[in-house]
Amino acid sequence: MSALSSDGLDGLTNGPLEEAFKRLKRSVWVFHLNTGSCNGCDIEVLDVLTPYFDVERFGIKLVGSPRHADLILLTGPVTIKTLSKVIKAIKAMPRPRLILALGSCAVGGGIWFNTYSTLGGYPKLEEVLKKVGVEVDKVVYVPGCPVRPEAIIYGAAVLLGLLQPKVTHRRMVAVEG
């Protein structure tokens, strides 16, 4: 792949973690964590695992426990009910902890961003994680409602530093006529 780059370590600066992350590029084990999503994104995650998209091509494999996982596929807006379990699951992961926030809910809270029963996506969860002292080494946000299977694969490639992100912040001045 021509877009291959070694850049992808922004969140990882200390030695052993960096080493571990480099080794990770070959085969990532993922744990699917639903934090109260509508199951739209979850079904797309299943799609990615079927032979049609077959992420085992890249060595990505679904595991049943966060203790075995390198990467969490986080879907949903993080409801208050799931919060304690989500923190436990992320805490159970060995370092380097990687998270792929999938879908509009996980990225920005989606339509639930300001409801009473949800936290409002990963950015809000990150604040809570900081408070309880759980460190996460790298996060990639993957918008979509639901995320396409291709978008998930693209997100994983961005996370592992195989592809460069395409979107950038744009500030455009309205032309006055």
């Binding site: 032979p51 509009s104 990225v107 396409r148 291709e150 978008a151 912040h169 001045v173």
Partner: protein, 172 residues
């Protein structure tokens, strides 16, 4: 065993089902809706899209000299309502879905408008472009003296005018 042989025949006929993405282009149907694109040349900052957007992915922020239309892709549900409702056809639905990024700030698009300040209270309340557009559409009319007055002050002014008209007493 026989079953297995039958499978072999089927797989030989059907070939490989697995898609090669990211090494090939993805399946994007004509109906597919990706992120939206706001044309800064066409947008007048009317806020119709902001009102219709279900998750408030689009917001209008009134700053002292600017009115900023912000689009947060990370909250957009790709419903396309904004493109449907925009009176200026400034919004197009693109097929772009490869939006993954480690930086949350990358997911913001901003269109910066020059603000019009209320000539009574001084609060920024609309955009220069919108005032021009409305002027063009209603062709002057007797609204023009109130063009640069914010809705709140306009209400007060009208109430005063009507009040003094009815009672004959001028209220200041």
């Amino acid at each position: 065993m026989v079953k297995f042989l039958r499978m072999l025949a089927i797989s030989a006929r059907e070939g490989t089902a697995t898609r090669k993405y990211p090494f090939e282009s993805s399946l994007v149907t004509p109906e597919f809706r990706g992120r939206v694109d706001i044309d800064p040349a066409k947008c007048v900052g009317c806020g119709a899209c902001v009102r219709i957007c279900p998750p408030s992915a689009l917001t209008l922020n009134y700053e002292s000299d600017e009115v900023v239309l912000k689009y947060f892709i990370g909250r957009c549900i790709f419903c396309g309502m904004c493109a449907y409702v925009c009176p200026q056809d400034a919004i197009t639905i693109t097929k772009e879905f490869e939006l993954a990024t480690p930086e949350l700030n990358d997911l913001y698009d901003e269109v910066v408008h020059t603000a019009v300040k209320c000539n009574v209270c001084g609060k920024p309340f609309t955009t220069v472009k919108l005032v021009k557009e409305v002027e063009k559409r209603i062709d002057g009319g007797d609204m023009s003296p109130l063009f640069n007055t914010c809705p709140e002050c306009r209400r007060k002014l009208t109430a005063r005018r009507v009040g003094s008209g009815v009672t004959g007493v001028s209220v200041e």
